[in-house]
Symmetry: C2
Subunit: 384 residues, 2 copies
């Protein structure tokens, strides 16, 4: 990644590939568990919409304006856009429930942005919005979303360290829920119950000093980073925009809403916080930008040929380091830094053994795999 | 699509699927012909960078600021970001040439934005930047980009109507090139030479009154919309940021640059301008949000079962209209409006014939295809 200014980053090729892997995990889980349709909303929002919801003075808004002086804000989330949009399409109980999501850039004018990509001023979010006839239906979907979130964090490799955390529910819900990953780099403080895998955010620890699940009082204080949150909005935003539906009796009722966020860059950063050593990143296979890192040593034609054959024939994603004028030591250091799961070395020495030298990023030992077996070897490793 | 304000649109599920198809065509062509790496740069840019290039007063900039009052702009293009970024990574002729691209949102504070998605204030662009040791290498790549662009517009279905158009090259190049698609909805005027398939933008018609290819003077004036442009930046931006490299003799030289844009929403809108009738859109297969539109008529269990079997078993992308309480006429009208290439109808009547009724969106005739042959039928049609 490249830092453009504090809290604003560009994704370079490898980082972007990791983001695409995260997107894939999220989309698959949403299709499977939450049945939402994907859309893509704008970043420019009319300020009027925020005046309707009372969010026009939130301290993290970026403001801008049209040539005509009409005031705009950059979206911090999309309730002010999705609610008027859904109002155009939904009018009857027959249209409900209804779920949409997007993966899109959000903007927050943070006073300080010092935790790298863990707290961005511009950041990629998955935000999902659900629309229901009643609170019971909202509650059911909300529970399903917890399951989906657990699956997403599990598949991303941070399931073990991520706790569902009770947090402030605003004026309209008792609690919201965050998914907090334990890390010393985190800016949040949570109190966790080891046995229930549940935590309480510091912001509500006074009103909720015990584990909300088992009632136990042995909570342990930890630093954590919020990688996702889910929130029952109920009728807060429906009310602001008059988002109603006609029920079976023909009565007009406010739609009940939920919203569900995951920060993709933050998730990426959290994974790196967990999976690294002093040499660099150690990607879990599911998120790794490539599956194997092929290093050619020297420019012997037979060595080069063996590398090119693997690179062009393999079904796995391979990063091929064929740089000249770069020492083997430098290539190894770069491979460790990038953290791709398998390192494959081809040199005159390994060629004498008719083999690639293979090393996993997270292990010390190396092994030799015959050239004619390397494709099967990688395939098997990838499947396991 | 949903209009949030003039020039600002959200993509709804079907529109977003079309955008994904366009992205796929673009990415494949870039991989094949232009060998560029994908990155993703930020939308927030420091105003300082624009002061360095003299673009800080461009009249279409959106301005905003941090809490600290540091001035920012929303990116209209990314030279001010990519050049400092490349400066960190490239120092020698060995690192060149080098190509990167992204598909990302741009912002232009247009005074008027009245042509729908053809002229947006917020819009999705593919922008590619190339970096070269000398002008010859830039010129070679520039020619390759023309070929790539022709392929992209061909695959998108507007190849026939899209003319490479000579346009103003700024202070540093004689010409730039636009790809202009002929349409009455266009805001640009071009003068085209039918025999050469080349055009001249009105902005330079006085200095270039003849066809730049054959020299002919029978140019025809047409309204058009610019769907892409390519530009030799040469050392304009390298100069502003001191983006240099050391050549083989160890001399410090400025890097030569080109930039290459395609507006995705504009391309989508242009395709719709070409492919529609009074009933709605007629998508070319490559861009269609789905390949087939399956309409269930009535709720007879056997009819429903036949639909669900096809929907779950087909390898094609199928949109399944299983709405109750919606008349067949309404469903047909919606299918015409959405413009998916094949319409498949299943009703008690067609079931008696053990068939789906099949109609192409762009033809009047219907045919009946046996249920057990429908999968092969669709597969064959898709391949052809």
């Amino acid at each position: 990644m490249n830092k453009e200014m504090a809290g604003v980053y560009s994704f370079l090729p490898l980082g972007l590939r990791v983001i695409r892997k995260i997107e894939k995990i999220i989309r698959e889980e949403i299709n499977e568990t939450l049945s939402a349709q994907e859309i893509l909303m704008s970043a420019l929002h009319p300020l009027e919409n925020y005046e309707k919801t009372g969010r026009e003075k939130i301290d993290v808004l970026f403001y801008t304006e049209l040539v005509s002086k009409r005031k705009l804000v950059l979206g911090i989330s999309h309730e002010e856009i999705i609610v008027p949009l859904v109002k155009k399409h939904v009018s009857s109980y027959k249209d409900l429930p209804f779920y949409v999501y997007q993966i899109q850039n959000k903007f927050r004018n943070e006073l300080r942005a010092k935790s790298g990509i863990l707290r961005g001023r511009e950041f990629l979010m998955k935000d999902l919005y659900s629309f229901h006839t009643d609170e019971k239906d909202l509650n059911d979907y909300y529970e399903k979303s917890k399951e989906a979130y657990r699956n997403i964090f599990e598949k991303s490799g941070i399931g073990d360290k991520t706790y569902i955390t009770f947090a402030d529910g605003g004026t309209f819900s008792k609690y919201s829920h965050e998914f907090q990953m334990i890390t010393e780099a985190g800016e949040d403080l949570i109190y966790l119950c080891q046995s229930c895998k549940v935590a309480v955010n510091e912001e509500i620890i006074e009103e909720c000093p015990n584990c909300p699940q088992c009632g136990g009082d042995k909570l342990i204080k930890k630093k954590a980073v919020e990688v996702g949150n889910i929130f029952k909005l109920k009728d807060k935003f429906s009310n602001s925009f008059g988002l109603t539906f006609k029920n079976e009796k023909g009565e007009e009722k406010l739609i009940q809403m939920g919203c569900y966020g995951i920060g993709l860059g933050r998730l990426l950063g959290s994974v790196v916080e967990v999976y690294h050593d002093q040499k660099g990143i150690i990607w879990p296979s599911e998120l790794a930008p490539f599956f194997a890192h092929l290093i050619q040593i020297g420019d012997d034609p037979s060595v080069k040929k063996a590398c090119e054959k693997l690179y062009s024939e393999s079904e796995e994603e391979i990063l091929y380091d064929d740089r000249k004028d770069v020492s083997p030591g430098e290539k190894f250091a770069d491979a460790d830094l990038m953290g791709i799961p398998f390192r494959l070395v081809m040199s005159k020495k390994t060629l004498e053994k008719d083999s690639f030298e293979v090393k996993r990023r997270n292990e010390e030992k190396v092994e030799f795999v015959k050239i004619k077996e390397i494709n099967n070897f990688l395939k098997e490793k990838h499947a396991s």
